[in-house]
Subunit: 358 residues, 5 copies
Amino acid sequence: MAYFDKRYHPPGTAPGTLAGDDSGAATVHLMDYSPDRLAERADATVAECTPALHQDQTVTWVHVQGRPHPELLQEIGNAFGLHHLAMEDVLNRGQRAKVEDYGGQLFVVLASPCWHDSGEGVRLAIEQVSLFLGDHYVVSFAEGAEDPFEPVRQRLRGVVGRFRRAGADYLLYALVDLVVDQGFPALERLGDELEAVEDVVLDEADGRASARLHRLRAAALQLRRALWPQREATAYLSRDETALVHETTRLHLRDCHDHAVQMIEMLEAYREMATHLLDVQLTRLNHRLSESMRMLTIVATLFIPPTFIVGVYGMNFDPDASRWNMPELAWPFGYLFAWGVILMTIGLLFWWMRRRGL
Amino acid sequence: MAYFDKRYHPPGTAPGTLAGDDSGAATVHLMDYSPDRLAERADATVAECTPALHQDQTVTWVHVQGRPHPELLQEIGNAFGLHHLAMEDVLNRGQRAKVEDYGGQLFVVLASPCWHDSGEGVRLAIEQVSLFLGDHYVVSFAEGAEDPFEPVRQRLRGVVGRFRRAGADYLLYALVDLVVDQGFPALERLGDELEAVEDVVLDEADGRASARLHRLRAAALQLRRALWPQREATAYLSRDETALVHETTRLHLRDCHDHAVQMIEMLEAYREMATHLLDVQLTRLNHRLSESMRMLTIVATLFIPPTFIVGVYGMNFDPDASRWNMPELAWPFGYLFAWGVILMTIGLLFWWMRRRGL
Amino acid sequence: MAYFDKRYHPPGTAPGTLAGDDSGAATVHLMDYSPDRLAERADATVAECTPALHQDQTVTWVHVQGRPHPELLQEIGNAFGLHHLAMEDVLNRGQRAKVEDYGGQLFVVLASPCWHDSGEGVRLAIEQVSLFLGDHYVVSFAEGAEDPFEPVRQRLRGVVGRFRRAGADYLLYALVDLVVDQGFPALERLGDELEAVEDVVLDEADGRASARLHRLRAAALQLRRALWPQREATAYLSRDETALVHETTRLHLRDCHDHAVQMIEMLEAYREMATHLLDVQLTRLNHRLSESMRMLTIVATLFIPPTFIVGVYGMNFDPDASRWNMPELAWPFGYLFAWGVILMTIGLLFWWMRRRGL
Amino acid sequence: MAYFDKRYHPPGTAPGTLAGDDSGAATVHLMDYSPDRLAERADATVAECTPALHQDQTVTWVHVQGRPHPELLQEIGNAFGLHHLAMEDVLNRGQRAKVEDYGGQLFVVLASPCWHDSGEGVRLAIEQVSLFLGDHYVVSFAEGAEDPFEPVRQRLRGVVGRFRRAGADYLLYALVDLVVDQGFPALERLGDELEAVEDVVLDEADGRASARLHRLRAAALQLRRALWPQREATAYLSRDETALVHETTRLHLRDCHDHAVQMIEMLEAYREMATHLLDVQLTRLNHRLSESMRMLTIVATLFIPPTFIVGVYGMNFDPDASRWNMPELAWPFGYLFAWGVILMTIGLLFWWMRRRGL
Amino acid sequence: MAYFDKRYHPPGTAPGTLAGDDSGAATVHLMDYSPDRLAERADATVAECTPALHQDQTVTWVHVQGRPHPELLQEIGNAFGLHHLAMEDVLNRGQRAKVEDYGGQLFVVLASPCWHDSGEGVRLAIEQVSLFLGDHYVVSFAEGAEDPFEPVRQRLRGVVGRFRRAGADYLLYALVDLVVDQGFPALERLGDELEAVEDVVLDEADGRASARLHRLRAAALQLRRALWPQREATAYLSRDETALVHETTRLHLRDCHDHAVQMIEMLEAYREMATHLLDVQLTRLNHRLSESMRMLTIVATLFIPPTFIVGVYGMNFDPDASRWNMPELAWPFGYLFAWGVILMTIGLLFWWMRRRGL
């Protein structure tokens, strides 16, 4: 698993060069709405999108799902007047969340985290979402296979309310809000995984838990890289720095920023928790080691010296050769004497161990 | 135990959607006072609260205890003109402490920590308190089962003093002060628990202390997430950014902010102490391990080689087969010779151990 | 030992409530001076202090030593017009250092650290000093048993110089300077203790050092909580934010702030040193463990297998039962053959150990 | 390997002293272009560069590859009016990235990291790139053996486009962009190396991995020292603080700054990952130690006491000497009794071990 | 070795008190220069310095080497109008680097680090340098035995150039530059020492390295305390906050500030490296421990059970007493049977060890 999925052009490439090896598996979805009417077209072509753009009374939303072919991107860029540096950022995924103001056009990059369950455990993926806000249009790009913006379309198709009456900036808010809020389930999952590891660590102090914990820490690091810049981006949008976003939308974006800040605090708490867990595991391993060591020390200390003593009386020196050769063997109470020596030795060792605080 | 209790709507939900699975076990308490008179009604309905609101000369305090049903919340929202984003925050508990200014209405979120003694040890819970301040009314929401604001009511019911004469902003201050000060007993408890663990760690270096310490660290992390944003919120209130809070109340809110800052410093000190304790425990475990190891090494090093020697003279080679077969067994001083070899070996090993600094 | 000595009122108490269980063992000391004359009275009553206050030409200094009874405090508060929130802070000791400006009156809280030698080792205590500065008076409160301000009185009683000619703000400076500078001997002591522990750790790697180190770290944490806010407080005083402090006194307070900053840097360095020492101790314990392990491994590896071999030839199988039963025992060179096997085994094990890098 | 390659003059040397032991292996490359024409000269002399400088309609780019001799540098300095402090920084390599504004001339220092594969593993080298921007000229210095700016020359030699039409500031941007973007492959390599170590750590917990990890951490530290100041430098260039850089170029430099920020975030994540890995390795080593300890403890605890028992019945006390001497040996069921004692002992030890949680 | 060499007056001393136990081993060096002429006098008296001061056309530089006696300092203070708080700082060495502006006089404190090779290893000393800048004079104080400013005097005595023509502020710059740049060799030495320890740690994992590393970390901490405030001081000087320093000198001081910043970055990198090294050492010690443990476990596990088995057949139960007493001893293939049991046991243990991953 690569730590981070970041694409870049070779150093020295001209700025705004659009190049990529991804054959364009992208689809274009067009939505054009005003309080009165709503037109929608799945699998549209760029040519079909252009007329909608020229109608000032409607909000035009062009969504590109998947990784667009450089040529498709260039075509869209020409139609909507996207800046070449921004288009380069759409292709070179792994960008950090940001807001760029290209005079009259706002370019927003966001990161959408989601967990994938694979055979060898869960894995976190960060997908880039790019949004362009113009006067009465929004162009959005989402990387993955599944279209994340379906709930927004449902709300647009529903009863005519605040959403349909509001401008393109409110659409931008709805998309940003959806992407930012995807952090909550991702964090919840992280928390669940951490608690599962915590149970293992506190109950068994299993060695494999450290590998699992390591993977969660890597995921938390990925999440951090995705969520921190999002905080800045939403802060930028909720401050009054651009004329494209209206006051009431800005209030909603402030709520969005609030969520981004909450997520970061939860994430930092999880990260700290993971570090704590590794410390606890190390301490528990040491404790277990210390315990088996103590048992070994007690047994070995009490029995190795007596084994030496009985070894002595197992020697085969010939008592007949001289009276100095193992006279104890022939003593009437030799055996009892040996047992006396053994028990006294064990007693002494026991006393010594206690005194040393074992 | 879930690390954090945070509710959120599924990403893509329309902003201001009020939805919740909590059947409304909430009660509404009304208090309406001026220097001259005081009206109070427990278990009120929203309809009963509205007339009080229209009287400009009195301060109206509506308190909702428990988790209100979305419909009840909507009703209160309509009566007092609460912002839909703020009402969403009341329902989605686990919000970070904050102050939002919705032009003419101040929305304050605070976190109230308390310890619960359960069977498996103490547990920290963070309850959300939400306050709305209008021109001459305060609407408050508290999550738990018990009404925390009874002491404030007692003071209102008592002698007519500064409190009854002051406006709604002073009531807000009294509520904020009470919630913020609940951090002190929570921190004191944390400190007591830490000291109890400290005694265990310094006296016995018990392995179970690490699990207990881990739980305290998790609680400290929870407290941190609750108390830090409170600092910002009280700072906001004590700065002159809103016309709703008067100068004299602001002086009192500065005192409140002061408490919030003190708590954070105490908390950070406790957190550091807990980290220190884990370090100390690891060191002590290592020390104990090192001590049992030394004892084992001394005993095994001194007795394993002599045991080999006595084993040699316990072999049964037939001295009659040739004169090379264990002639020592028949030496007149063979036994003493063997003891000599043994004692010399022990002496050498002892000298070697000393030299190696054991 | 409680980590921190912090008093607070139960949450919900009315602000400015003065309550305490300390029976008033406090004494009041009055000093009233101008360049021309100096009046001094120990164990004064509040009534005796009031006339001095009404003389504008003199500087009146009222010092309260010990923990004043709430009634005494209220009496002083009435005489000098002290703010009720400030008086609450005087009673609720354990406040963080701060400066509050109550329009026309400056309230300064400082922390004075000192070491106490008790039976079980040194212990750090933090005592609160509270100062009120008015137009031509200073009211000071110091917690401990001993009056810390005697050196300042000596200077006032001495030759008539800058001090006697300057106003109440210079007296405030002298008191602040004295309290702040008490950090230097406290830090010096901390440094001495740390060096003593360092000697133990580097020489013996004794396990008890970790408990001692832990107590020093706890003391450093206490000191930190006392000294950090002092930095802000002296910075506030040395900036020109209040009309009560004159330009020349401010220059002296800047010097005082400088000392506060120096102390913090020394303290942080000590804290880091203490952390280093624990790391070093852990490493040394591991090293010692590793060394005894090596010795044990060498001895056990070289002697356990030969002990098995000599055990084999100590078996009592009957060679007469068949020619397969231990024929070696009857070989003419059987004993030498056994020694050969033993020495070869030891040689092989020795070579194996070397190759494994032991 | 020296941690950092930093040159400095002996303290007390006059500022602007140009001295160095590097014999000037530097080559000068001249490029002079306008939309209409392009002149290029490799291995130019300073004299050949001067005429181009005096033509205001063209952009003159003088590139010095290698470490210039102080005399050559002085000559260039005189021709282009370079500040003596800036020239000193060109010679004293190991400067931190920065932008200095010498009124009418901008001096930019950047750091270009690259990995070298040597026999004993990979090694990171940081090369200094110095750029001077004047009204219509750029002077660049690059330290290494290979000219990094060839891709930029290719783009200049290609079709006449934005680049040829833009001024010297756009050339500066192109060079800065190239140098900054060289951080991406360097970081990618660091990530690859870390993943390789991760595999080793998680699979085998090999001890040599710690040395490898240490080298990667040292490299990450080097990278950090190179990349952090680059962030400030690019931020300075992309803010409108100097008249030398035009608005459109500034937009491109903002993109460049964006890359610098991204790199730092990637780097910090890698650094943290490396720290995690060392923690994991320590935990795994402890786990393995704990596991072998357990096995040893089980075997030794179960077999050492029985070995003592069989040793007892291997003693040679003479049963004929008295009836107290080892009567068991002559019991009809003595052998079975001994086995009974042995098995009971093993059983008891087994039960004891289980109870102690081994 | 005391961690820090900091002198302070007892708390409560009057400000500006000059007291010290250092008998004045200080010498005064006078230099008085203009573009036209240069007067120099070693071992001057204060009286000899005063006339030079009254000549406005020359720059007067009075340098005091060593620790001046309080009386000498007072005399100089009177002659040059030094502020009494500044003079106190000159005596109370161990001040943090700073710049104080006493209206018309600038007081600069700097720290000059140098390494001393003593018998028990290298040791870092921090010496305080104090500088006063007036309109056309500089008074400098340096603590050590050796005069550090000789190179500056050489430059003044040399050809008449920028230095002689510039004012007193340029002299101040030259002195500040020299003191600041002394950080480079000190850091280089620290780096060399660290690399030497690194070699030891990576090659041998010697336990003594941790004490050496500890001393280097203490030195790095000292350096940090010296260099960090220097950054602020040079930043202050290079900003246009005082009329005493001219624009061109300020440009040079900015260069000086640049060096201070570089040093801090190098230092922080070294400090981190030292921390890494301790981690690596701990890991390697654990690895070595784990390795010897494995060897011991393999040998003991394989040979302790067989030793028990051969012990069984070394028991002396009388086969004649009954047919239950060790019938195996008389079996024709008893010996081979015993070997079979032994080899099977070893095989089983080997298989068990493999399965447990040892």
